[in-house]
Symmetry: C2
C-alpha cells in the first residue's frame, strides 16, 4: 500500500511536534518543512531536526529566508520580547504574514511531491492574537493554494489540516503524550539561553508550562529559571 504524502510545518516547538505525530498517526508519509527566518536563536531548528529524526519523516527540508531585512517583529527585529503574561491585541512577537509565507512554501513543495495534504500546528485558543492562526485564515489560504496551483486545472484541492485548532495547550500535550511525543525534544522559548535552556518567563514559556500543569504531568523543559 502506498502511503499518501503530507507536508508538515515543523518549527521545533511543542505544537508542531504534536501536529507531526498526528499526521503520522493518520497514515501519512510526512515531509517536514522548517524555516530559518532570522530567528534570534537556532536552537529551535536543532530541535526540529531531532523531532523529524525521531518521527522518521520521509524528508526534512530547512528553507533559509531572511525576514530580518524588514524586521517588524520581536522575533526578527531588535524589539524586546515581552515577559510576564499575555497582553491584548496582536502581540509584538507576531511575524508579519509568517504563516502565509510558510504555507506558500508548503504548497509549492506539496505540488512537487504530488501531496494534497498540509499540516500546520496553529491554535486559535492559546494564540487568538495572531490573525494567521485563525480558522478563517486557514480556509482562505486553502482556496488560494487551490487557485494558484495545478489543483485548479486538475479539479482537486489541498487539505490544510490544523488538528490543534481548537485544543487547549493541556489537551495538545495529552494528545502528544498518547502518541509518544518526547517533549524534551521540543522548544518553545522566545528568548533561550546560549546553552538552549528556556528562559521560563516569556509568554511562550508561561503558556507551555501552564499546559503541563493543567495536563497534570511533569514539565520536562530545562529552564534557566523555572516559571
Amino acid at each position: 500500500m502506498i502511503q499518501p504524502k503530507a507536508v508538515v510545518l515543523l518549527s521545533g516547538g511543542l505544537d508542531s511536534a504534536t501536529c507531526l505525530a498526528i499526521a503520522r498517526q493518520e497514515g501519512f508519509a510526512c515531509y517536514a518543512l522548517s524555516f530559518a527566518y532570522g530567528q534570534r536563536h537556532r536552537v529551535e531548528l536543532e530541535c526540529a531536526r531531532r523531532i523529524a529524526e525521531a518521527a522518521a519523516v520521509a524528508r526534512h527540508v530547512v528553507i533559509n529566508i531572511d525576514l530580518r531585512q524588514w524586521g517588524g517583529s520581536a522575533l526578527t527585529d531588535d524589539i524586546p520580547v515581552p515577559e510576564g503574561g499575555a497582553g491584548t491585541g496582536i502581540p509584538v512577537t507576531y511575524v508579519p504574514a509568517r504563516n502565509t509565507i510558510f504555507l506558500s512554501f508548503a504548497t509549492g513543495w506539496a505540488e512537487v511531491l504530488g501531496a494534497r495534504d498540509i499540516f500546520i500546528g496553529v491554535n486559535s485558543l492559546d494564540y487568538s492574537g495572531y490573525p494567521d492562526c485563525r480558522p478563517e485564515f486557514i480556509k482562505a489560504f486553502a482556496e488560494c493554494a487551490r487557485l494558484g496551483t495545478k489543483a485548479v486545472d486538475e479539479g482537486w484541492h489541498f487539505n490544510i489540516h490544523a488538528p490543534l485548532q481548537y485544543l487547549k495547550k493541556a489537551d495538545i500535550i495529552r494528545r502528544g503524550l498518547e502518541l509518544g511525543v518526547d517533549y524534551r525534544l521540543t522548544h518553545s522559548c522566545y528568548n533561550p539561553a546560549p546553552d538552549g535552556r528556556a528562559c521560563g518567563h516569556c509568554d511562550s514559556c508561561l503558556l507551555r508550562h501552564q499546559g503541563f500543569v493543567d495536563a497534570g504531568v511533569p514539565d520536562p523543559t530545562p529552564y534557566t529559571d523555572a516559571p
Copy 2:
C-alpha cells in the same frame, strides 16, 4: 503631501518593469521586491537592480530563497527549457506556488511598511497556462492577506494591483514606452548566454519579440541569435 507606499514585485523582466512604472505614475512611493530563488541565471536580478535604480524606488530588497531544494520546474530544476513556441496546459517553466510565495513576502513587507498596496505584473492573456497569474488567484490571495494580517482586526484590506492582467504584450510595451521604461534594462529570456544576452528561441524570448513586432516598435533586446 505624504505619498502612499506600495510594494512592487520586480523580477527584472519586461512586465514587472512596466508594472513598476505604472505604480509610480499612480503616485506611490515604490518598495521593489525581488527574489533570488535558485534561478539558473542571476542576470535578471542585475536587471532588477538597474530598473529599480532607474525608477528611483524608495528601497529595493532582494530575498534569497532556495526553491532548488525541491525542484519541480525547468526554471529551478534540471528539466530542459522548451523552445519553439507555446504548448498547451501548464508549462514546465511554471514554478510551483511561485506567485503565492512572492505575494506572501510582499504582504509581510507591506504590513511592516504600513502599505496597503501591492503591485504584481501578472498577465492572463499571454500566460494563461500559469494558474497563479489568473485574476481568480489574485482575488483569493488578497482575501488571504487580509485575513492573515492585522488588516482583519483593523478593518482594512490589501489592494493587490495587477495592472497588466488583461493587456496583450504589445499593449504592455506601448504603455511602458509612454511611461519612459527603458526596455534595454529588462530581461525575459529563460536561457541567457553567460554574457547576459537573450537566446532568442525560448518561449519567453519569442513572446517578448512578438510583442515588439505587434507594437510596431524596434526590439532593443540583445540576442545571441535573433528570433
